[in-house]
């Protein structure tokens, strides 16, 4: 099974027609590039960020004022996250407009939906981490919103066990943001790529 997976991720040959840029605009690939950029810049940010409420904002001020290229790396992370969301939405639009969600690619549509959801959730969990006013109130209103959804109370209690901006909830957002969500997105992405090759690329719509 694993060999089958690898052979689809790294195929011996690809149809030239499948690479026609004007059909897909490589939006999915660009989104994945943004994701890789996020992983790299996020990895660098981990060296300076401190996930406790008193230190979080201070550590970001330190990063921006005293670390060479610190502000650049942080801006890169922020811009790449915007780019990822925009590109994923455009990619979804392309898939809808070309009808690529139809048989036999329904499963990949579902996987893609979960990637989209994880990306939005990842962006949201990253929102609280700077612990400035925008982060605090943004998360506060977000939690109120989640509470109105069905089963929202349970979700809110899982995300914010003490209160928004308190140690445990900050640590929880942090863990989700740096470990759980990126790992989920990476696994889903490779599953996504496997399914593309398995369904013989974007053919026969070309």
């Amino acid at each position: 099974m694993f060999k089958d997976f690898l052979e689809h991720i790294f195929p011996r040959l690809i149809l030239e027609k499948n690479l026609r840029i004007r059909y897909t605009f490589c939006l999915g690939g660009l989104a994945f590039t943004a994701f890789m950029l996020l992983v790299l810049s996020g990895l660098l940010l981990l060296f300076y960020y401190q996930p406790c409420p008193e230190k979080a904002f201070e550590s970001i001020l330190f990063l921006e004022s005293s670390v060479p290229a610190g502000r650049f790396i942080r801006s890169l992370h922020r811009l790449a996250s915007h780019a990822l969301l925009v590109l994923i939405f455009l990619h979804t639009l392309r898939v809808i407009l070309t009808g690529a969600y139809r048989k036999p690619r329904e499963l990949n549509w579902v996987i893609g939906f979960f990637i989209l959801f994880s990306a939005v959730f990842g962006a949201y969990t990253g929102y609280l981490l700077p612990m400035d006013q925008l982060a605090f109130w943004g998360t506060h209103t977000g939690m109120e919103l989640i509470g109105t959804a069905p089963f929202g109370e349970i979700a809110a209690r899982f995300l914010v066990p003490d209160d928004v901006g308190r140690p445990v909830s900050l640590l929880r957002f942090y863990t989700l943001h740096i470990a759980v969500i990126p790992l989920t997105i990476a696994i889903l992405c490779f599953l996504h790529f496997y399914r593309i090759r398995h369904d013989k690329g974007v053919l026969p719509y070309l």
Binding site: L44, F47, S66, P68, A69
Partner: protein, 130 residues
């Protein structure tokens, strides 16, 4: 023409790339740690009960107001001249800005109060850190 292998060229390029990225990363991992140096040490007894103790060279004035002791920077927030301290106010000789003893602006052209420096109490001494 003789066929030249490209592997050496590629290897040198790879090494150059690795060296460049490692040295950039190394810079990122060495932050500028600002060490706080004591700028001025003043004995508690030296500060007058009213008015201010002025250090013209280091451009600092110690002011006592009630039990509160603070250090004002004497650098004018307008264009950086050193202000003169009188018993009731601080006057800038360059463009005539006037500040109160707490550093607040009484008269322009300056529009920001004088900067307050961090004062640490160390036993019988007050220490200004920069």
């Amino acid at each position: 023409m003789e066929k030249v292998g490209k592997s050496r060229r590629r290897f040198i390029k790879a090494v150059a790339f690795v060296i460049a990225s490692v040295s950039l990363l190394w810079k990122f991992f060495i932050p500028r740690i600002s060490e706080k140096k004591p700028l001025l040490r003043v004995a508690r007894a030296d500060i007058p009960a009213s008015g201010a103790l002025v250090f013209r060279k280091s451009k600092v004035a110690f002011v006592k107001k009630g039990n509160d002791v603070y250090a004002l920077s004497l650098v004018c927030t307008h264009l950086g001249c050193t202000v003169n301290v009188t018993t009731r106010e601080l006057v800038c000789p360059c463009h005539g800005s006037i500040f109160g003893l707490s550093g607040e602006v009484l008269k322009g052209p300056s529009d920001r109060p004088l900067e307050r420096l961090t004062v640490e109490e160390q036993g019988e001494f007050f220490v200004v850190v920069s």
